[in-house]
């Protein structure tokens, strides 16, 4: 197995204790940091994504792989040039006003980070105004809203309406998820729907491309 394959394998297997040494070994051998990133670590994460979709990897394993990649990035980050690391996009995430449930949103945030997105998680019980202000401040590509209670879907509608009223926020893409959400409800309010965390990552990638 060459060093890049080993690094990719470290990410897939969640070998947090090994990856730093392997990354350093690659760099010491004269490899460009960007090559280590693209052909080692990102290749590993892509494999993780495929295995998760196929049901061969489970959520805790995916999260461990993401953490392992972060370990490797600690070595690479200072050496990468500007432009070497391209963010997949910027996402503002919130559980909407009236709702305090957030395990699903937390999982989506972790999966999106693993896929290279920069996440700003506003927490729970977040008002439409707070979401609008965060959009003005962070200029995200996407706003993601989560709810578990049917009645809090109204907050989602209010947030969409508020964002569309302002020229500086009206173009942000909107994703919704959670138990009461479904494709019809999303379409009615002018948003996009994903059923689970994996689909949320696919949706986010498609919305920024």
């Amino acid at each position: 197995m060459d060093i890049l394959e080993m690094i990719a394998n470290d990410v897939v297997e969640g070998e947090m204790d090994e990856i730093a040494d392997h990354v350093q070994e690659a760099l010491d051998g004269g490899m460009e940091p960007k090559k280590v990133l693209d052909e080692g670590m990102l290749k590993g994460m892509n494999t993780v994504g495929d295995l998760f979709k196929e049901g061969e990897m489970f959520v805790p394993e995916v999260l461990m792989s993401a953490k392992t990649m972060e370990e490797g990035m600690e070595i690479l980050k200072p050496l990468l040039k500007e432009g070497d690391v391209t963010k997949a996009g910027v996402v503002v995430m919130a559980t909407v006003k009236g709702d305090l449930h957030d395990i699903g949103k937390k999982l989506v945030c972790m999966m999106l980070e693993g896929a290279g997105f920069e996440i700003h998680d506003l927490g729970v019980d977040v008002t439409p105004e707070e979401i609008r202000d965060a959009v003005k401040d962070k200029n995200p590509d996407i706003v993601g809203m989560s709810a578990m209670l049917t009645t809090t879907m109204l907050s989602m509608q209010d947030t969409v309406a508020l964002l569309k009223q302002d020229a500086t926020t009206q173009n942000v893409k909107i994703m919704i998820g959670g138990a009461p959400a479904n494709p019809d409800v999303a379409t009615e309010m002018g948003a996009n729907y994903s059923a689970d965390a994996s689909a949320a990552v696919d949706l986010a990638v498609s919305l920024v491309s």
Binding site: G55, F58, V59, P60, L100, L107, T150, L154, A179, D196
Partner: protein, 479 residues
């Protein structure tokens, strides 16, 4: 006095030693780690009762206070029909009663076996079928129907359920304010706050947010119920590996601590307030991220939680007829059956939720008939074996009379006892079965027949006037 459904099967998930260990661990959580308490009023009340308030609104409850509240909490509960008859009596006999459904937005259409949106007519249909079935002792209004503002849907569903369902209602609303609407209607319906407190035909429901977040909305519900004499179930729903520790014992320790916190809150507000212990520690499917309703570990943990509630002497809110499958199919029926067996054997007292499909996304009229069938079926199982001296004497006499190679068909004991065996009403035991099952067709026809012919006892004109006036007020709110 004998239990309403005799349970002569010696079933427990937890031994007394295991119960003690879990209890001690939950006491450690409450007294040493603490839980989050958003409600300023509740923090004050708890502090006055001896709890320690720490930074970030963390409350630590000393064991002494837990024990004091365990002494004052009623060791049973009585619930009434809409018209004031005691139909649920939980006490020393540890009676068990089954309730139907929970409020959702979708219904599995019984003709097509496909999911569609719920409408007001469906609320009535569920109420009528539940009123008809003797196996159903209480029901939740099928609340979140389409056609009215969602902020009043549960309240309208409650009023309609009062019209078409004469037994106890377990109300579930998105906000406490919605429950208070229903409660005020119920109080006027029976003639006042004291009358409802004396003979409650409603109960309510609240959950902490796992792990250990006792949010203002949930605490408000405990306060409102304690102050109005309405029984409340406090029930954490947690997912192992997500919002609870990944092992069953971890989830039980956590949920038990959260429920004990609810119990303490209710007793601190009003010693002797009616409190029902609920717990749903389930599996977080790490492939699909679903909180499973059909997992065997879930039902095992619910039964284990019933053991804990029994240890404390308080009524337990169990769960039945739950599935992760979306329609009535082999998986959903298998999962219904597993949960029915588990709950019927357990120490549960008020058993809710079923029938519930698609991990809590739709409800089903056909499922109610399957529940009824399984209710009688599993009842027969837990009846167990009569080994009384009289029965053994009779059996020895019978065995001696019949002798080797004989038969028992004409024996008096056979004639007297053969009807104690369960005979299915809907499942078949034909000597020659048809090549294709007609069970679904028969179930559909039965639902249609009941809906056409069963007429629940209507409210009196005075009671209907109360319902109509509340309906008019609710409907006028969001125009």
């Amino acid at each position: 006095m004998e239990r309403n459904i005799p349970n002569n099967v010696n079933f427990s998930v937890l031994t007394p030693e295991q119960i003690q260990k879990i209890h001690r661990a939950s006491v450690t959580v409450l007294s040493e780690f603490g839980v989050k308490m958003d409600s300023a009023r509740m923090r004050e009340e708890l502090q006055a009762a001896g709890a320690q308030i720490c930074e970030n609104d963390i409350v630590k409850v000393p064991e002494q206070l837990i024990n004091k509240c365990l002494e004052t909490v009623p060791k049973g509960v009585s619930l009434y029909s809409r018209d004031g008859e005691e139909i649920i009596k939980i006490g020393a006999e540890n009676n068990i009663y089954f309730g139907a459904i929970i409020d959702v937005v979708n219904v599995l259409d019984h003709h097509t076996n496909k999911v569609r949106k719920m409408f007001r007519e469906d609320v009535k249909n569920f109420a009528v079928l539940e009123d008809y079935l003797d196996s159903v002792s209480y029901a939740t209004p099928a609340g979140m129907f389409n056609g009215v503002d969602p902020r009043i849907a549960s309240q309208i569903a409650f009023l309609d359920t009062c019209r078409y369902f004469t037994k106890t209602q377990s109300i579930v609303t998105a906000e406490c304010a919605g429950f208070e609407d229903c409660m005020h209607a119920a109080q006027d319906f029976v003639g006042g706050k004291d009358k409802l407190a004396e003979k409650p035909f409603i109960m309510y429901y609240a959950e902490p947010i796992s792990p250990f977040m006792h949010v203002d909305e949930s605490v408000k519900r405990i306060i409102v119920c304690a102050e109005n004499g309405i029984p409340i179930t406090y029930m954490p729903y947690s997912m192992m590996g997500g919002t609870a520790p990944v092992t069953p014992v971890g989830a039980l320790i956590q949920n038990n601590a959260d429920v004990l916190m609810g119990l303490v809150m209710s007793q601190v507000i009003k010693p002797g307030a009616s409190f029902i212990y609920g717990s749903m520690p389930t599996v977080f499917d790490m492939k699909t991220t679903v909180g499973s309703y059909g997992a065997p570990e879930f039902h095992m943990c619910v039964a284990a939680s019933a053991d804990l509630a029994d240890f404390y002497g308080v009524p337990f809110y169990g769960s039945h007829c739950l599935s992760d499958a979306k329609t009535i199919d082999a998986q959903s029926v298998a999962e219904f059956e597993m949960s029915m067996m588990s709950t019927m054997m357990s120490k549960a007292n008020l058993v809710h939720d079923g029938p519930f499909l698609d991990h809590a996304n739709n409800i089903t009229l056909i499922g109610l008939l399957l529940f009824d069938e399984m209710f009688h079926q599993t009842k027969a199982y837990v009846n167990g074996v009569d080994t009384s001296d009289e029965m053994i004497d009779l059996m020895l006499k019978t065995i001696k009379d019949v002798g080797p190679g004989g038969h028992y068909l004409e024996e008096r004991s056979t004639l007297k006892n053969f009807k104690k065996i369960w005979y299915p009403k809907r499942f078949k035991r034909l000597m020659q079965n048809p090549d294709e099952s007609d069970l679904m067709d028969r179930l559909i026809a039965e639902v249609d027949h009941i809906l056409e012919t069963h007429v629940p006892k209507p409210p009196t004109p005075e009671q209907e006037e109360v319902l109509a006036s509340y309906e008019a007020e609710f409907m006028s709110r969001y125009k």
